[in-house]
Amino acid sequence: MIGPLLEVRNLAVHIGGLVAIADMSFQVPEGRIVSLIGPNGAGKTTAFNVISGYMRPTKGRVLFDGADITGLPPERIATRGLVRSFQRTSVFAGCTVLENALIALHGRGRAGLLGALLRAPAQRREEARLLAEAHSMLDFVGLAARADTPAEVLAYGEQRRLGIVLAAIVSPRLLLLDEPAAGLNPSETQAAMELIQKLRDRRMTVLLVEHDMAMVMQISDSICVLNQGRIIAEGSPAEIRQHPEVISAYLGSGHWEGADAQA
């Protein structure tokens, strides 16, 4: 058996005098949808920022596909096949949806300065290929009709969807999604869930941070529960639901009720 696709080992992050993450270890096996849940301030976004290279950990390592990526800049991590989405400002404002997709396809092109200036046939072919890829991806996620719409005028739900698409279009091996369902209505949440499953079927492994427990319980293969900067439980949705520590950590937070209703 090969090792996990992502392994977080004894991660600790101190910001100023505050301990955002005390000691965190977990693994994400290839081909799964793994969720990271926990109450507000548990350190989920911090963990995402560290894994994707936007923040340096105080201690610990992040291994991706067996290689140490701790402290690499985000763009290097992305080209290795680990890409994240953002909770807020998740699209390139001022650009159309199609341009957004083309920007995200950056890594698929080769054209350098000379190529750009001379526009040799090879460059034109490459541009045509990227354009085709962008269109096919927008088709795949159901945004084709919006191709020429400026991203910032999209409806909120569509903007969030585009945000996920931008990360997915890079064809990463591991996709980190930061609260993809935040602020979505039930039918949009359902659509987001289907999109995530479709991406998994395209051989992407998914690590999810999400508050919507119904969604987490429904699509996750396994769940890590984070509280006060530590992993307090790990397991399948069924196991997590029964876990005494998890229940006490979540008591009164209100997020649990949705999960019960769904279950």
Binding site: V83, F86, V91, E99, Q123, E127
Partner: protein, 327 residues
Amino acid sequence: MSNAPWAFVAALAAVPVLVPNPYVLAVLTLAGIFVIGAISLNLLLGYTGQLSLGHGAFFGLGAYASALTSLGFDIGIGFGLRLRVDPQPVWLGFLMAILVACAFGWMLGRLAFRVRGAYFVIITICFAQVLRMVALNWVELTQGPMALISIPPVSLWLPGLGVVPLVTKAQTYWLVLAVGVLAFLLVRQLVESRIGRALIALRSNEALARSVGIPVTHYLVVAAVVSAGIAGAAGSLFAHYMGIVDPDVFMFIYTVTMVIMVVTGGKGTLWGPVVGGLIFGLIPDLLRGRAAPELQWVIYGVAMILFVMFLPRGIVPGVQSLLRRRA
């Protein structure tokens, strides 16, 4: 529509034939040189969104590099050694201007793009100031405040004619126009490419651009080098056109003039710096004799304030959306 730009260029090219007035040509030539500077600044300020306030430094570097190459120099470089360069042809000076400016653009890019916002702006200002003081004080090389004088006019190799010095106003005008068209095309090719998309992405949302794997600093440096090179070319034209270069070319006011051109015309649009550059390149001559020179600068300052406050996207996008609404 796509023919309109070429018609514009053809009209400009016809000016010396239709209006053979040396004063008009001189004014247009100088405005053209600043339009080229504004086009180069727009690549950084408009497309990457980085407010570079040291841009005049590349213009000045180009002017000095070109002038010194064509005049020759003889300086001590320490350890009792001397570096001596005999006067070289002007076209070599032009190339040197571009090379030197590119090299400094690369250096400034590598240094300054480690930081953003106010910090970046201040580094770029300081960069230009340091160069100004070097130009003032390294008298052996630059003649300091006494300026480099008798810089030869541009010469051009033409098939069948050999090397021809461009002494008439019309010839210089056409040369500046040609360089301007080239600079415009260069920037257009760049921004409408994969690299251009990366630059626009980083202006729009840097964190997101990095998350999809775009090495933003690399492309910022690329943009800085290209931008500096074009500004250096403009500086070279300036030096050979004026025949004199002094340390004042590094003054903040030159950079600010280019910034005003880009901001009023429309930053991040191809035609913005052309429109803004022509307007603010011609204003000084429209005001000449009618108002004190200080008032010209007051007008520039007030124009910048009014544009940023009331038409922040500039003239070209403003006119475009007006046309779209009427259509």
